[in-house]
């Protein structure tokens, strides 16, 4: 093994390509992974468009990681397939000490604040490894990270058996939430999505599509689109006493009909990232087959084809792209 490897590097502005970089250095308490698959996230698209405030040029992107442990340690064997919790938390603030390290006041992420996983190899903290069923399909496990976002959003939603659930946005996270809501006993899951290819993906998973002009009363509404027109209209298709879960990231303040919030005693709750146990639950859901993300994973590409696949995502083609690493 040479001292260099190929990785997807963002150079600043909207310039990114596959480049030769040094193999990762592994600090004390960290481990080296041979990457199996790394998913491309909307955040990666923002970074490579020069729109992410924390990313610094020269960064290897990618935080949706499945890898194999390069050298075994006390908890994981060499070659063992693992998922990764990409959250780098301080461990000392009140949020970290109360089991909420995903809300850490000094939150950093692998693939944003330090080199990530669209590469042959990546270094991650040993505590970040998530055990997965070694017999599970590794391609499906490539969807564990976005699925963990959905698992956490479901926890925040406190959905009840028999609830009617609405999801705005049929991207990877919106579809993951719809799958989880069905698994959690929703009586009906209705999705709102304008892009035809994404509507088709939602339909192929058996979900009902809401027409733009139809008002449906749902008990829990997930906003996985984060668009101003969604914020402005979402109070119109929720039952009194219902709950709006804001999953997508708004980049600026949005208008919301707060009178409806008052009169209907609506709740609006945020959800961000996930806890370690959400990742463990997501890995279990995939391994057991209770959630099959196959229709959402539209492209599995080599590192050589990663740039083209990302350009496709910018053009609205495909839903979830996985990039093969050095262990495939």
């Amino acid at each position: 093994m040479t001292g260099r490897m190929r990785a997807l590097v963002w150079h600043g502005d909207n310039s990114f390509d596959i480049a030769e970089v040094p193999r990762p250095t592994v600090p004390q308490g960290w481990v080296l992974l041979d990457v199996v698959y790394t998913g491309v996230c909307g955040t990666d698209l923002h970074i490579c468009a020069g729109e992410h405030p924390r990313a610094r040029p020269g960064l290897v992107i990618g935080h949706e990681l499945i890898g194999r442990v390069h050298a075994g340690g006390s908890r994981f064997a060499a070659g063992e397939a693992v998922a990764v919790n990409p959250i780098l938390s301080c461990g000392h603030c009140t949020q970290c000490r109360t089991g909420m390290s995903h809300r850490c006041q000094h939150l950093r992420l692998i693939g944003i604040d330090c080199d990530g996983g669209i590469a042959e190899q990546v270094a991650v903290p040993a505590d970040a490894l998530v055990r997965v069923d070694q017999n599970a399909d590794l391609v499906k496990l490539g969807f564990v990270e976005p699925l963990a976002v959905a698992v956490h959003a479901m926890n925040q939603a406190r959905m009840k058996l028999g609830d009617t659930v609405g999801v705005v946005g049929a991207g990877p996270v919106g579809l993951a939430i719809a799958l989880c809501a069905r698994q959690a006993g929703a009586a009906q899951v209705v999705i709102r999505e304008p892009v035809p290819s994404r509507r088709n993906a939602a339909r192929s998973l058996g979900f009902e599509m809401a027409d733009e002009n139809v008002e449906v009363d749902v008990d829990v509404l997930f906003d996985a689109a984060a668009r101003p027109e969604v914020a402005a209209s979402m109070t119109r298709w929720i039952s009194n006493g219902g709950r709006i879960v804001v999953v997508g990231t708004y980049s600026s303040p949005a208008l919301i009909d707060l009178q409806s919030v008052t009169f209907g005693e609506l709740e609006i709750v945020g959800t961000r990232l996930y806890a370690q146990e959400d990742l463990e639950e997501a890995a279990r859901l995939v391994a057991s087959g209770e959630v099959d993300p196959s229709p959402v994973i539209t492209n599995v590409v080599s590192l050589d084809d990663a740039v083209a696949a990302m350009k496709g995502l910018y053009a609205g083609e495909g839903i979830k792209v996985l990039v093969e690493g050095g262990a495939v």
């Binding site: 000392h92 009140t94 089991g99 909420m100 390290s101 370690q276 146990e277």
Partner: protein, 367 residues
Amino acid sequence: MRALRKTAKAPGHVELLDVTEPEAPAGWVTLDVDLAGVCGTDIHILHDQHPYWPPVTLGHEFVGRIAELGESVSGWSVGDRVVCEPHQGACGVCYLCRGGFHHLCASKRSPGWGIDGGMAAQVAMPAHLLHSVPEGVEDRAAAVCEPAAVCLTAINRVRVMPGDTVVVIGPGTIGIVTALACKAVGAERVVVVGRAASRPRHELVNSLGLEVWDSSIEDVGEKAKSITAGRGVDVAFEASGSSQGIAMAVTALRRTGRLCAIGVSGAASVDVPWDAALMRALDVKFSFSSAYASWDAALSLMGNGLLNPAPLTTVYPLLDWETAFRAMEDELVVKALLHPDQEDGGAAHKADGHALPAAGERVGKGG
């Protein structure tokens, strides 16, 4: 330095010994101990009724000042007055540690039984478990921070609301501090229930502004109905661990009331009035040990004058540890504190300590 040590795995074998002062490894500090509280756990260790790894210095409740900083400790200075969570050895990677429940981690080795504790002139503790004591909180109150944090953790488990009527069974430190904290959270009426045997404590509880019912005189279930228009109380804390106490808590509660168990029974099983609890559709929570956020909350309440456990305490010099332990066992005092100064016997503290009248006879635990 002098340290009160459990020296062997058998009943007894607790001795005041001369030992080497502790050093602070990287990430740890040493503290000069000002006061160390005697807990039921210490007495159980004396009698070989709790797990421990001898030889070990007793005491997991203490307040002190930082004497020395180990390597790579930041954010603390020598002289800082602190209390310390007894959650050393938590693994940091299990589902409990990751979920904010490091106080329930199976790998935990607390001071006083797993590692050397605070009944000594000095103790070494990991810096990440320290909490700063606000100015104006006297040592005798800060020394009770650990039990207070246990109480706040329990209160958060059942969510006591302003306006609630609350009954607390068992007038020990945990019961009384829970009752005081329920007052601080805005409960409308808080009643502490004790047996005839704990009568010497009832006056003290009364003097703290809390109502006391003597269970040998009152029918607790009927009395609870009589103060709630026939409904029953909203919340009950069972801090005695006795089957009589559990029965009183259940019968005092209203339908859909909340029961929180914080008393250790010491038995493999206890009687519970099952159908009475079921037909009330009670919410039952158990609470054990103290969560991180409860320590800051307890200190904040003390610092703002909303919770003061100091009147529950009686200070003894460390040399008189046997007297202090016996006074706790005999329920002559609510919370005995040990002062490590050898010669003056902690006279400054003792002057305003609160000693109860002698109970006359040795009594067991319970409501």
